[in-house]
């Protein structure tokens, strides 16, 4: 296998910017040390025009684009190493198994999990949360027990719990947020009751960008012996995550938001919980011995991986995190934070614009509304300018209801976005306002 490199991107000179406007000259932060132009070369899809304009891809919270390393990895494995895993004695099966288990170890290192068997491959964050709800939840919860989430959750961290509550008679409690989109930690604490069996919160909000004080949340819950699941779909692509340092009990993430393939993600779970939990699905690979009287389940993590897994995409996800590590998650976080600050400043120059989600700690998401212009119309007109943003409720309808808006427009940034692209976005928003008079 070739080693992945992120184009030796870090610590080289910043490329020359195209002539910035006077406004941006005064506010554009110094981004020396992070060679975004070089990194962009790793992403073939970015080299295209959309509607006659260079593509400005600002929908990274929905999904991220893939570096050549990931695309090549998929091709290489299918061309050279592919077979089913954990089964055959033949060479290809062994190679595939080694690559697949190697990817698990890369994910273990990426999250700093204690054991590689604490990493369960799933389809994505949604399946990871459903796994915990149906396995941990169904085997643990009784009528009257409670699950605590927050008011800023994605539907995938709401609906699995509602289904579980219907099945068990448990109750779903929702900790409120304030006008800035920050969790009200005191109210959260008050909702931790003797009946709370699990806390499930997003590490970072997809609709608002808020980064939750997850360490404080975990300490509060653990002081009452309540386990905590973190929905890391949004956080993992933007910051270093150390599950041992956080001391979270479960961590869920999606590969496709992490510059990896679709259809693959992981559930991290502490060994003690995964050991105690019953299987989620039955089938091959998750068993040790099957007779018609009784089935003995396999060890971790295979107990939770029934059926042939998504082998190649798991391997490519390993390549994706390896790629990210060559850049450094801290370097990505710092750069994206500069992008967000710059985007926020520039957006606020537009009087008709309101930012939705103004928490003090935020990831690189700019959710906004424009006076009297629906986000859908903003999205269509920006697309004409080659700018891809999301317009809608972001699978977080309760968040939209809280802010009293039907939808927002959302620009979300990734490791390959540039300050110039933010200038193009801001010019585009001005055009939208112009078109709508």
């Amino acid at each position: 296998m070739n080693k992945v490199s992120a184009s030796q991107a870090v610590m080289t000179q910043n490329p020359a910017h195209s002539a910035p406007s006077a406004a941006s000259l005064k506010t554009r932060p110094n981004s020396v040390g992070y060679n975004v132009a070089k990194l962009r070369e790793d992403f073939p899809i970015l080299r295209q025009t959309v509607n006659g304009k260079p593509l400005v891809y600002l929908d990274n919270a929905a999904t991220t684009q893939k570096p050549t390393a990931v695309i090549d990895c998929i091709r290489r494995v299918y061309e050279n190493d592919y077979s089913n895993v954990h089964r055959g004695v033949h060479t290809l099966s062994q190679r595939s198994t080694d690559l697949f288990e190697g990817a698990r170890e890369k994910l273990q290192q990426f999250l700093n999990a204690k054991h590689s068997h604490e990493i369960v491959f799933v389809r994505g964050t949604t399946e990871a949360i459903n796994l915990v709800a149906q396995s941990f939840g169904r085997s643990t919860l009784k009528e009257g027990d409670e699950i605590l989430i927050t008011a800023m959750e994605h539907h995938s961290n709401i609906v699995p719990w509602q289904m579980l509550c219907e099945q068990t008679g448990a109750k779903l409690k929702v900790a409120p947020i304030g006008r800035t989109g920050e969790l009200l930690l005191d109210e959260f604490e008050q909702l931790l009751s003797p009946r709370t069996r699990l806390v499930s919160v997003c590490h970072m909000s997809n609709a608002l960008g808020t980064i939750n004080p997850v360490k404080a949340i975990i300490e509060l819950a653990h002081s009452r012996d309540i386990p905590v699941l973190l929905d890391g779909a949004q956080a993992a692509p933007h910051m270093a995550v150390d599950v041992q340092d956080l001391d979270c009990d479960f961590y869920a993430l999606s590969g496709h938001k992490l510059y990896g393939p679709t259809g693959i993600g992981i559930l991290y779970g502490k060994e003690k919980w995964l050991e105690a939990m019953p299987p989620y699905q039955g089938g091959g690979d998750m068993i040790r011995r099957v007779t018609f009287d009784k089935t003995e389940y396999n060890t971790l993590p295979f107990k939770f991986e029934a059926g042939t897994p998504n082998i190649v995409d798991a391997i490519a996800l390993g390549t994706a995190v390896e790629y990210l590590e060559t850049i450094g998650m801290d370097a990505i976080a710092e750069y994206e934070n500069q992008l967000l600050q710059y985007a926020t400043e520039r957006a606020l120059e537009i009087p008709q614009l309101t930012i939705v989600g103004t928490a003090e700690r935020k990831g690189a998401i700019l959710s906004f509304t424009l006076e009297r212009i629906h986000p859908h119309d903003i999205g269509t007109i920006l697309d004409h300018l080659g700018i891809a943003i999301r317009a809608g409720h972001h699978c977080a309808m309760p968040v939209m209801d809280f802010f009293g808006v039907p939808a927002t427009a959302r620009a979300s940034f990734g490791l390959y976005n540039t300050f110039e692209e933010i200038d193009i976005l801001v010019d585009g928003i001005r055009k939208v306002i112009e078109v709508f008079g």
């Binding site: 304009k53 629906h374 269509t380 007109i381 809608g392 309808m397 039907p406 939808a407 055009k431």
Partner: protein, 151 residues
């Protein structure tokens, strides 16, 4: 570039978006339905007063994008006074011009101002915005459940 966008956002669309017609609650409606586009969060409440198969009055409330608001507004103008069958026929024509399917034979005079929304055919993601009000009307006339969704 912005000329192209004018095919979608014609002046009539802006006008009806800014000043939607029949934008009111109807106390004596005998049909009321919630229309919902889960993709984008557009919501409308449609009020219809039907008497002996004739749409005597129609109005709406709600929030949506310029396309869905203008479409709802234009629809209320055009269907008022028509029979249920005629309204269904107009929907059929409207559907054809917004999707670009089998629209050769559509008589533009017959659909009048609705033609301004034909630009939506170039934007498949926005067709649902344009047809939400019409789907709601169809459901209201059929007396279907209280909520209609474009999904």
């Amino acid at each position: 570039m912005l000329d192209q966008i004018r095919d979608l956002y014609q002046e009539v669309v802006f006008d009806h978006n800014r000043n939607p017609r029949n934008f009111r609650v109807m106390e004596d409606a005998n049909r009321k339905i919630e229309g919902f586009n889960p993709l984008c969060g557009d919501k409308i409440t449609l009020y219809v007063k039907v008497n002996a198969g004739v749409i005597e009055d129609v109005s709406f409330q709600g929030s949506g994008c310029a396309i869905s608001t203008a479409s709802a507004s234009l629809m209320t103008e055009i269907v008022k006074g028509h029979t249920e069958d005629e309204a269904q026929h107009l929907f059929d024509l409207f559907h054809r011009i917004t999707t670009g399917k089998n629209d050769d034979a559509v008589n533009l005079e017959e659909i009048g101002k609705l033609a301004v929304l034909s630009g939506v055919r170039a934007y498949p993601a926005r067709v649902k915005c344009a047809t939400l009000a019409w789907h709601s009307l169809q459901a209201a006339l059929k007396n279907e459940a209280d909520t209609v969704s474009t999904e």
